[in-house]
Protein backbone atom coordinates (compact mmCIF):
# COMPACT_ATOMS: atom_id res chain seq x y z
CA UNK A 1 0.00 0.00 0.00
CA UNK A 2 3.02 2.26 0.37
CA UNK A 3 3.65 1.91 -3.36
CA UNK A 4 0.20 3.27 -4.21
CA UNK A 5 0.97 6.46 -2.39
CA UNK A 6 4.16 6.96 -4.39
CA UNK A 7 2.84 5.79 -7.79
CA UNK A 8 -0.37 7.83 -8.09
CA UNK A 9 0.93 11.38 -8.37
CA UNK A 10 -2.38 13.07 -7.62
CA UNK A 11 -2.42 16.39 -5.78
CA UNK A 12 -3.78 14.75 -2.61
CA UNK A 13 -1.03 12.10 -2.56
CA UNK A 14 1.68 14.72 -3.10
CA UNK A 15 0.21 16.78 -0.26
CA UNK A 16 0.19 13.76 2.05
CA UNK A 17 3.85 13.00 1.26
CA UNK A 18 4.88 16.61 1.95
CA UNK A 19 2.76 16.68 5.12
CA UNK A 20 4.33 13.46 6.43
CA UNK A 21 7.81 14.84 5.70
CA UNK A 22 7.10 18.15 7.49
CA UNK A 23 5.58 16.40 10.51
CA UNK A 24 8.66 14.16 10.70
CA UNK A 25 10.81 17.32 10.72
CA UNK A 26 8.61 18.67 13.52
CA UNK A 27 9.16 15.51 15.58
CA UNK A 28 12.90 15.92 14.98
CA UNK A 29 12.77 19.50 16.35
CA UNK A 30 10.93 18.24 19.44
CA UNK A 31 13.55 15.52 19.87
CA UNK A 32 16.25 18.22 19.88
CA UNK A 33 14.41 19.92 22.76
CA UNK A 34 14.03 16.54 24.47
CA UNK A 35 17.80 16.00 24.34
CA UNK A 36 18.74 19.59 25.26
CA UNK A 37 16.44 19.83 28.28
CA UNK A 38 17.60 21.68 30.30
CA UNK A 39 15.05 20.72 33.01
CA UNK A 40 12.72 17.73 33.44
CA UNK A 41 9.50 19.69 32.70
CA UNK A 42 11.04 20.76 29.36
CA UNK A 43 11.53 17.13 28.45
CA UNK A 44 7.99 16.19 29.51
CA UNK A 45 6.55 18.95 27.30
CA UNK A 46 8.72 17.73 24.42
CA UNK A 47 7.47 14.14 24.84
CA UNK A 48 3.89 15.40 24.89
CA UNK A 49 4.46 17.33 21.65
CA UNK A 50 6.08 14.28 20.01
CA UNK A 51 3.01 12.16 20.85
CA UNK A 52 0.68 14.87 19.50
CA UNK A 53 2.62 15.05 16.26
CA UNK A 54 2.62 11.26 15.97
CA UNK A 55 -1.19 11.42 16.15
CA UNK A 56 -1.17 13.94 13.30
CA UNK A 57 1.16 11.68 11.28
CA UNK A 58 -1.11 8.67 11.84
CA UNK A 59 -4.17 10.64 10.72
CA UNK A 60 -2.48 11.91 7.55
CA UNK A 61 -1.11 8.42 6.84
CA UNK A 62 -4.67 7.12 7.13
CA UNK A 63 -5.66 9.58 4.38
CA UNK A 64 -2.65 8.75 2.19
CA UNK A 65 -2.94 4.97 2.42
CA UNK A 66 -6.75 4.93 2.38
CA UNK A 67 -6.74 2.99 5.66
CA UNK A 68 -9.25 4.40 8.16
CA UNK A 69 -8.09 1.76 10.66
CA UNK A 70 -4.98 3.87 11.32
CA UNK A 71 -7.18 6.32 13.23
CA UNK A 72 -7.61 3.82 16.08
CA UNK A 73 -3.96 3.82 17.19
CA UNK A 74 -4.12 7.62 16.91
CA UNK A 75 -7.04 7.65 19.34
CA UNK A 76 -5.22 5.38 21.79
CA UNK A 77 -1.99 7.42 21.53
CA UNK A 78 -3.90 10.59 22.45
CA UNK A 79 -5.06 9.05 25.73
CA UNK A 80 -1.74 7.35 26.57
CA UNK A 81 0.13 10.63 26.07
CA UNK A 82 -2.23 12.39 28.50
CA UNK A 83 -1.78 9.74 31.19
CA UNK A 84 2.01 9.85 30.73
CA UNK A 85 2.17 13.63 31.00
CA UNK A 86 0.04 13.76 34.15
CA UNK A 87 2.10 10.99 35.76
CA UNK A 88 5.33 12.83 34.99
CA UNK A 89 3.87 16.07 36.33
CA UNK A 90 3.04 14.40 39.63
CA UNK A 91 6.55 13.01 39.74
CA UNK A 92 8.06 16.47 39.19
CA UNK A 93 5.83 18.02 41.87
CA UNK A 94 6.64 15.22 44.36
CA UNK A 95 10.35 15.73 43.81
CA UNK A 96 9.91 19.41 44.66
CA UNK A 97 8.21 18.69 47.99
CA UNK A 98 10.70 16.18 49.36
Amino acid sequence: MTMDLLRNASLLNTTVIVVLFLLACGILLAVVRLLKGPTLPDRVVAIDLIATQAVAMLASAAIGFGEPALLQPALVLTLIAFVGTVAFARYVAKGAES
Partner: protein, 120 residues
Protein backbone atom coordinates in the same frame (compact mmCIF):
# COMPACT_ATOMS: atom_id res chain seq x y z
CA UNK B 1 -14.65 19.58 -3.65
CA UNK B 2 -13.98 16.97 -0.95
CA UNK B 3 -10.39 16.63 -2.11
CA UNK B 4 -9.84 20.40 -2.06
CA UNK B 5 -11.21 20.64 1.48
CA UNK B 6 -9.02 17.70 2.58
CA UNK B 7 -5.89 19.32 1.13
CA UNK B 8 -6.75 22.66 2.73
CA UNK B 9 -7.32 21.16 6.18
CA UNK B 10 -4.15 19.04 5.92
CA UNK B 11 -2.09 22.09 4.98
CA UNK B 12 -3.47 24.28 7.77
CA UNK B 13 -3.00 21.50 10.33
CA UNK B 14 0.58 20.83 9.27
CA UNK B 15 1.50 24.53 9.39
CA UNK B 16 0.16 24.84 12.95
CA UNK B 17 1.87 21.65 14.13
CA UNK B 18 5.17 22.70 12.55
CA UNK B 19 4.89 26.12 14.21
CA UNK B 20 4.45 24.35 17.55
CA UNK B 21 7.61 22.32 16.89
CA UNK B 22 9.59 25.45 16.00
CA UNK B 23 8.18 27.20 19.06
CA UNK B 24 9.21 24.47 21.47
CA UNK B 25 12.77 24.83 20.18
CA UNK B 26 12.92 28.63 20.14
CA UNK B 27 10.97 29.79 23.22
CA UNK B 28 13.05 30.92 26.21
CA UNK B 29 11.41 29.19 29.24
CA UNK B 30 9.30 26.16 30.17
CA UNK B 31 6.00 28.00 30.40
CA UNK B 32 6.20 29.59 26.95
CA UNK B 33 7.26 26.29 25.41
CA UNK B 34 4.33 24.60 27.14
CA UNK B 35 1.72 27.03 25.87
CA UNK B 36 3.08 26.90 22.32
CA UNK B 37 3.16 23.10 22.30
CA UNK B 38 -0.35 22.83 23.75
CA UNK B 39 -2.36 25.37 21.78
CA UNK B 40 -0.81 25.32 18.32
CA UNK B 41 -0.30 21.54 18.21
CA UNK B 42 -3.85 20.84 19.45
CA UNK B 43 -5.37 23.03 16.72
CA UNK B 44 -3.08 21.44 14.13
CA UNK B 45 -3.99 17.87 15.01
CA UNK B 46 -7.68 18.81 15.13
CA UNK B 47 -7.41 20.10 11.56
CA UNK B 48 -5.64 16.94 10.36
CA UNK B 49 -8.23 14.68 12.05
CA UNK B 50 -11.02 16.69 10.44
CA UNK B 51 -9.26 16.27 7.09
CA UNK B 52 -9.41 12.48 7.61
CA UNK B 53 -13.12 12.74 8.43
CA UNK B 54 -13.80 14.78 5.29
CA UNK B 55 -11.72 12.48 3.10
CA UNK B 56 -13.37 9.21 4.10
CA UNK B 57 -16.81 10.68 4.69
CA UNK B 58 -18.39 7.64 6.38
CA UNK B 59 -19.88 7.46 9.85
CA UNK B 60 -17.27 5.19 11.50
CA UNK B 61 -14.27 7.28 10.45
CA UNK B 62 -15.97 10.57 11.24
CA UNK B 63 -16.91 9.31 14.70
CA UNK B 64 -13.29 8.32 15.40
CA UNK B 65 -11.94 11.62 14.12
CA UNK B 66 -14.41 13.56 16.25
CA UNK B 67 -13.43 11.40 19.25
CA UNK B 68 -9.73 12.20 18.67
CA UNK B 69 -10.49 15.93 18.57
CA UNK B 70 -12.76 15.69 21.62
CA UNK B 71 -10.20 13.80 23.73
CA UNK B 72 -7.45 16.18 22.60
CA UNK B 73 -9.46 19.26 23.54
CA UNK B 74 -10.35 17.70 26.90
CA UNK B 75 -6.89 16.47 27.87
CA UNK B 76 -4.47 19.07 26.45
CA UNK B 77 -5.44 21.95 28.80
CA UNK B 78 -5.45 19.63 31.82
CA UNK B 79 -2.02 18.22 30.95
CA UNK B 80 -0.59 21.69 30.30
CA UNK B 81 -1.99 23.01 33.58
CA UNK B 82 -0.62 20.07 35.57
CA UNK B 83 2.87 20.20 34.11
CA UNK B 84 2.97 24.01 34.34
CA UNK B 85 2.03 23.98 37.99
CA UNK B 86 4.50 21.18 38.72
CA UNK B 87 7.28 23.08 36.95
CA UNK B 88 6.48 26.27 38.89
CA UNK B 89 6.38 24.48 42.25
CA UNK B 90 9.60 22.67 41.41
CA UNK B 91 11.27 26.05 40.91
CA UNK B 92 11.63 26.29 37.13
CA UNK B 93 13.24 29.59 36.17
CA UNK B 94 11.09 32.22 34.48
CA UNK B 95 12.39 34.14 31.48
CA UNK B 96 14.16 37.32 32.66
CA UNK B 97 11.78 39.45 30.56
CA UNK B 98 8.72 38.14 32.44
CA UNK B 99 6.56 41.05 33.65
CA UNK B 100 3.67 39.46 35.58
CA UNK B 101 4.06 36.52 37.97
CA UNK B 102 0.70 36.19 39.70
CA UNK B 103 1.74 33.05 41.57
CA UNK B 104 4.63 34.82 43.31
CA UNK B 105 4.46 34.17 47.04
CA UNK B 106 1.60 31.70 46.77
CA UNK B 107 3.69 28.57 46.38
CA UNK B 108 6.54 27.19 48.39
CA UNK B 109 9.00 26.93 45.52
CA UNK B 110 12.17 24.94 45.85
CA UNK B 111 15.25 27.08 45.32
CA UNK B 112 16.85 24.71 42.85
CA UNK B 113 15.47 24.20 39.35
CA UNK B 114 14.03 20.64 38.93
CA UNK B 115 17.20 19.21 37.43
CA UNK B 116 20.13 20.45 35.44
CA UNK B 117 21.43 24.01 35.20
CA UNK B 118 19.28 27.14 34.78
CA UNK B 119 18.02 27.82 31.22
CA UNK B 120 20.28 30.13 29.26
Amino acid sequence: MTEALTILLLTIGTIFTLLAAIGILRMPDVFMRMQVATKAATLGVACVAMAAAVHFGDLATTARAVLIVLFLFLTAPVAAHTIGRAAYVAGAQLWEGTIVDELRGRHQRSAQPPSGPAPE
